[in-house]
Every structure is written in C-alpha cells, then in structure tokens.
Subunit: 247 residues, 2 copies
DNA sequence: CAGTGGTCTAGACCACATG
DNA sequence: ATGTGGTCTAGACCACTGG
C-alpha cells in the first residue's frame, strides 16, 4: 500500500472521508512526499489504495485541482503542480511592471498581437468609437516555468501606430508607450472580481477546467485623461497574493 | 414537467449534460423564472424532471452554489439566493468606510467584541509584544439583507483603552479612532488572495461549504508609523467587485 | 492498442430540519 | 415521522493520450 494512504479514517461524522483523503494528499504535496511534476497512480488504483470508491477519491482530487496543487490531463494522468507562487504586485505610483519576490524567475510569453476592430465592450472601456481600431495583445506570464497569469491588453491604434515594431525588441509595453511619447500615464482604476476557468483559459494556464480564478480589469490613463490601455487578466484563485502598498 | 427542463439535450460530446442543466438553471435564475428566496424541488424530484441521475443533477447544483446563485441547507432544501451585489469599494485616500452604489442598503452587524491576548500571527502583524492585549472585533456586512462580507479586526488595546464604549453607539471604528486621538491614519497595505469557505465561514455568509472566496488582509497605520488596525475579511468569489481608483 | 481521466447511472445509508 | 441534502458505492461507457 502507498504510504500516503496508511492508517484508518477518523469517524465519518467528524470529517468526510473525501476530506480526509484530501488532507493526506495535501500533506504529501506540502512535505514533498509527492514532488512537483510527479505523476500520480491512476484513479482506479488510487481508489483501491485509499479503500474508497473512485467517486470519493475523485472528490478529493477535484478539490486539490481547484486549489492548484494537482492537475489532471485527460488520457494522460494526474500530475503534481509546482508549488504556487505568492506573487506580490506593487501597484503604487507609476510602478507598472510587477515587482516579484524572485523577478528573475518570471517570464513573459507573447501569444498574439494583432490590430483590428474592437468589440462593443472594449470600445466602451477605452472610450473610443466602435469603428476605431485597437491593438490586441495576449500574453502569458510564467513563474519558474509555471503559467500564473493570462492577460489580454487593448490599446487605441490611432495613438500607437507603430505598436508592433516598438513592442517586438523587448516585449515591453513600456517601450511602446515611450516610443509614442506616452511617458506620463497612470494606472487609474483596478477592478478585482472572480470567475471560473473555461476550457480555453484552463488550457492556457495549465489548470483543470472550472478552477476558480481571480480576474482583474484595469485602465491606464494618459495625462490628458485619455485611456490608453485596457488590461483584463486572470490568475489562479489560490497561490497568488496581490499586494497594494502605500508609503 | 417543470418548464425549465423542457427540450432535449445537445449531444454529450458538445457539452456535458450537467453543464447543460447548469445553463438552464442559471438562465432561470437570471430571467426570474426562479425568484430569490424560492425553494427548489427536492433533488430526487429535480433529477427525475431533468431525466438524469441525482449525481449528475447535484453536479450542476454544486456549480451554481459555488457561484452564489443557489444555497443548499441540509435537511431543508435548495434556495435561490438574492442576486449578488457588485460591491464597489473605493479604497483611495483616507476613505475607509466603503462607498457603495446603494449605501442605504448596507447593514453592519457586530458579532463579537472582546479584549484578550493575540495569537502569535496577529501579534506579529500588529508589531506588538505577544503578551500585549488586543481588541478583537468580528463583524458581518449585509447588502439588502444578504451577507456579503465577514471581517475580523484587531486593534492594540494599549492605544484603545475605551474601545467598547466608543464603538457601541454607532458601531463605528472611525468613532473609536476619533475618541482616542487617532484621527490621522492611513490604509498602508492591502493584500488580496483566495480561499475556500470552511463550515463556520460558510454558515456566517450563508453559503455552501467549500465555496471559493476572496480574502483581504489590510493594515491601518498611524502617522507615527504604528499599526493600529489589522483587518482580515472574506467575501464570495463571484458577485463582488472590488474597485481601486486613483484620480 | 491499453490506460487514462470525464461522465453518468441506480442504488444506499446517514444526519439534519421541519411540520 | 417525513423529507431533505451530504455522503458513498460498484458498476459502466466514452474520448482522449500515449507508447
């Protein structure tokens, strides 16, 4: 028998079996008995090991997936995720690029960049005409190789006529702003809410579908009051901590 | 047959049955076919209505509970929740009490107020000695009678020697600050992360256990740098929107 | 191809809330 | 006492992944 499953269960009335299994698996993740990247035995096998039905076992696994400790891949198996980052975003002043406890381990991957007509909601957010054009930038941020943040950014194309050329060298939005004479801007509004992973967003973040997420929507505004950027981003509910500081 | 369940299901490969049931129930909540406060038929009956097993039906219900549209009460039934508030908290400047779109519909209920020794973590957060004393205030905020925010607040007792007397008249922390000569303070740090409802927190917020939550931890600091308040609060993941604005 | 996770079924027992 | 939701079981078929 696998060592994780050793020992009898506490009475069911004190704590459901599936939560006791959750406890043991979580403990195994935290102590390193299950190491990141490792593949778990199959669910049928695991259920036999824990001496429960597959349904009960899956309930424990589902909770661990929602919390980001495990990730199931259909047809492949259940894998132990890298421990989630407590990501500290300092959003005071004009400090846009998030400072991180371990900034060198952060990687930004550009998934797509294209110019086109905005949908109605985006046009309204940016306070532009529906027939104007916008740049649409989709990026993924990874910490130690683990995707932790997926964002869509929108910029009015009339202001940033050379977005792609300015962005390409360093994948830096700040560079784009600077190249278009937009050095003086401010993060004027940040909205935080909740959501659940769709099939697509789950795939991008390497999470199980239906995982709870935190969603952010933010505007950057130029000195003259014009909105020059709309950001919509999501990250896993657990394992990321957002920090707002004021001196 | 209940009208909500009318019509055949789309092929299972396009969308799982439980998600199709979820879709229909959600639509019923949004259109008012299921009105707030209403009790749903029992799960066995509902499963028969939707022509699925109880397990499949419960899967749809669970998702709706996680999103705050429904709430199950053991032994009593499943009820339709009041539509969730999009709660806008303006946290700029010294504006502590959250401004709300409909402030008159907000109610604050004090659950407990007591003076005692802090636990180790609280002492560290408030930067006080472990053997100092702190006031511990637990409150619940309701919008239109629906609990949406549960908070624990801690204050160093050496500063606020008459907390209870100053707090009682208006249930106002600001009044306590004013009565102790602490008019000049600042919200210096706000940390946002995720969590899941325990049995206790679920009961207080009238949610189903294991519902995903957003958690906030914040400090208020006096002019001299002394931390005078620690707040730890939680609210349902969905249905609340936190807004940070800067002019 | 075999094995995986995703979905679904038809039962069952329990603790709990309500009338 | 009845009915409720919470938990659990032992099966089954499917789509997908991998060797």
């Amino acid at each position: 028998m696998h060592p994780i499953a050793q020992g009898a269960y506490a009475p069911r009335r004190t704590r459901p079996i599936w939560l006791q299994i959750y406890d043991r698996l979580l403990h195994a993740c935290e102590t390193g008995a299950l190491s990141p990247g490792q593949r778990l035995p199959g669910e049928i096998s695991l259920a036999r090991t824990f001496d429960v039905s597959r349904v009960t076992l899956r309930r424990a696994l589902r909770r661990l997936q929602q919390e980001g400790h495990l990730q199931a891949r259909k047809g492949a198996g259940v894998y132990v995720r890298q421990p989630l980052t407590r990501w500290q975003v300092d959003d005071s002043g004009q400090q846009l690029p998030a400072r991180t406890a371990d900034a060198r381990a952060m990687e930004t991957r550009t998934l797509s960049l294209a110019k086109g007509p905005p949908d109605a909601a985006t046009a309204e957010h940016l306070e532009i005409a529906p027939d104007a054009k916008v740049w649409h930038l989709t990026r993924l941020r990874l910490h130690k190789g683990v995707p932790i943040y997926l964002s869509d950014k929108f910029f009015p194309a009339d202001i940033f006529d050379r977005f792609d050329a300015a962005y390409a060298p360093a994948q830096s939005v700040q560079d784009v702003f600077a190249a278009h004479g937009q050095a003086d801007w401010q993060r004027t509004e940040t909205r935080i809410s909740g959501a659940f992973a769709t099939a697509e967003t789950a795939a991008a973040l390497e999470l199980s579908p239906s995982t709870p997420l935190i969603a952010v929507e933010a505007y950057n505004t130029a000195r003259n009051g014009r909105r020059i950027e709309l950001t919509q981003g999501i990250w896993p509910l657990t394992g990321v901590e957002l920090v707002f500081q004021r001196s």
